[in-house]
């Protein structure tokens, strides 16, 4: 088996927050064009906080564990706090990722940030159309 930490194994075997949100406030998708891996994050926002986070991931054990960990780190946090989650902070929380997998599997933060950007741009549109 790949040399994964206990934390990675835990999040891989028992991933948190898998799924989709019906009618989400934001969606963020990130794909790895070389191998075809893909992560999708769905968020629900209330009072500038992530009320709900769900994800779907097509990829290796590390990619699934990363997605799960990111969702856990982000749940209930303010949008600005979530934007501060980095691939490194995710890897640290997972007690490390194999060196060769750090970049390709560690796309969770990016996907979640995209979901927030998606939410913010939708909101801007709403404000514009309200004018």
């Amino acid at each position: 088996m790949p040399v994964y930490s206990e934390k990675v194994m835990d999040h891989f075997m028992n991933p948190r927050n898998v799924g989709e949100i019906e009618d989400p406030d934001g969606i963020g998708e990130v794909g790895n064009p070389v191998c075809g891996d893909m992560m999708a994050f769905y968020i629900k926002v209330k009072d500038n906080r992530l009320e709900d986070v769900k994800f779907k991931t097509f990829g290796c054990g590390a990619a699934i564990a990363v997605s799960s960990m990111v969702s856990e780190m982000a749940m209930g946090k303010t949008l600005d706090e979530v934007m501060k989650i980095t691939p490194k902070s995710v890897a640290d929380k997972l007690e490390g990722l194999p060196k060769n997998k750090f970049h390709c599997s560690n796309l969770g933060a990016q996907a979640l940030h995209k979901a927030i950007e998606n939410y913010r741009s939708k909101k801007k549109e709403e404000i514009k159309s309200d004018d």
């Binding site: 088996m1 075997m13 070389v34 191998c35 891996d37 060769n100 599997s105």
Partner: protein
């Protein structure tokens, strides 16, 4: 928990008889076969016995067998050694797109040193068309190397037909028979080849054992210079336990190839038939009929191989995958891609290779535990969600 090893393409277990054949040279008989005394004599006999056993397995002459330390070494030796020995005649080499890296990278190394390389493509089943080999031949072609069968997808190649073409053109023809020697009948004269690689750990012999057969009269340049072991073609004090084990494994394989095949084919066929019947969107890779007796390979859509491997391992089942994520280089298998399979589908590669220790219950167990694993990963997969959604909309 039940333990099911279905990764015999990676390596096979050691047979007890093979172990027994090796033990004397680990315990008491430690001599150097080059020595001119009783200690040397005792081990020299063991080497020559093994040489005959290996020669008999493939229908070659004992004096044509060179012992090596692996299939990889045999392939390196064949490609580099044969090319370097013929380089006055030309510098063009032909290999297929699905060769093992020990052939492919050896050829690439020669390319860097001034040789020219042509890669022959394969069809969607992984078959190398002999006519494509013919088309790739030039007046300066000195070596063709096409594998006898591909261990990753199981396809057996038309070596006899390719050999006719190389003989017409007087080009040296090597075949990597690591996946076939000891597994299916191999006869160097029937195949019409000039050199053949094999490895002991593919047919219940020890790791670190291999051989290269080179037809008498074909020149090869040694990779390892030194003493005159192996007729001056491979220097270095011989690994007697490995050689004795390889010999014994070859003898046992020769005697039981048909019995082993009879055992393996129903296990393989049950996997090839039942897996796609129990799981939707599964593609069998490799040739549907003309394939190794112990090879069942697939691509399972919408999910990734390493995640499958980890979940199967947690259920006691060992398989392998050619997905990018399972490779250390993080690249999808060049074999699967050469067959025209997309990167996305290649991610779902899964290879199950039963061996002689497996039984029907093992296969039943895998067929029972795999579908829920696939389902679990698909429920997590955005690709599957997208597919299901598109399908629903399309069905309206």
């Amino acid at each position: 928990m039940r333990k099911v090893y279905l990764d015999n393409a990676a390596t096979t277990p050691l047979l007890p008889e093979v172990r027994q054949a090796m033990l004397p040279f680990l315990d008491g008989s430690f001599g150097n076969p080059s020595s001119l005394h009783d200690w040397g004599d005792a081990v020299r006999d063991a080497i020559e016995t093994a040489r005959s056993q290996v020669a008999e397995l493939i229908g070659g002459g004992a004096e044509e067998i060179i012992f090596t330390a692996s299939g990889t070494e045999s392939n390196n030796f064949a490609v580099k050694g044969l090319a370097l020995a013929q380089q006055k005649k030309g510098k063009h080499i032909v290999i297929s797109a699905i060769e093992h890296f020990s052939v492919m990278h050896s050829a690439r190394t020669l390319e860097k040193a001034g040789f020219e390389l042509s890669l022959v493509p394969v069809d969607k089943f992984g078959v190398v068309d002999p006519e494509d080999v013919r088309k790739s031949l030039r007046s300066d072609t000195i070596l063709v190397s096409i594998m006898h069968a591909n261990g990753e997808v199981g396809t057996i190649e038309p070596i006899v037909e390719t050999g006719r073409i190389t003989r017409e053109h007087n080009v040296v023809f090597h075949t990597d028979a690591v996946a076939t020697a000891g597994t299916i009948p191999v006869d160097v004269n029937e195949l019409g080849i000039d050199a053949l690689s094999l490895a002991g750990n593919q047919f219940y012999g020890p790791k670190g054992s291999g051989a290269l057969w080179v037809r008498k009269g074909i020149r090869i340049m040694p990779l390892l210079d030194g003493g005159i072991q192996e007729g001056g073609r491979r220097a270095g004090t011989e690994d007697i336990p490995a050689i004795a084990g390889l010999g014994k494994a070859a003898e046992l394989a020769k005697a039981s190839i048909s019995a082993r095949t009879e055992r393996l084919v129903p296990l393989r066929d049950r996997l090839l038939n039942e897996l796609p019947a129990r799981i939707d969107h599964v593609v069998v890779t490799g040739h549907p009929r003309n394939r190794l007796p112990g090879n069942a390979s697939f691509c399972i859509e919408f999910i990734e191989g390493e995640a499958m491997l980890m979940l199967l391992n947690s259920q006691g089942v060992a398989v392998s995958s050619g997905s990018a994520c399972t490779s250390k280089a993080l690249k999808a298998s060049h074999v699967i891609l050469a067959m025209g399979i997309s990167h996305e589908l290649a991610q779902g590669s899964m290879l199950l290779t039963p061996g002689i220790d497996n039984n029907t219950e093992d296969i039943d167990y895998v067929l029972e535990v795999l579908p829920p694993i696939v389902d679990r990963l698909r429920q997590m997969s955005p690709l599957y969600a997208k597919f299901s959604k598109d399908n629903k909309e399309g069905g309206r």
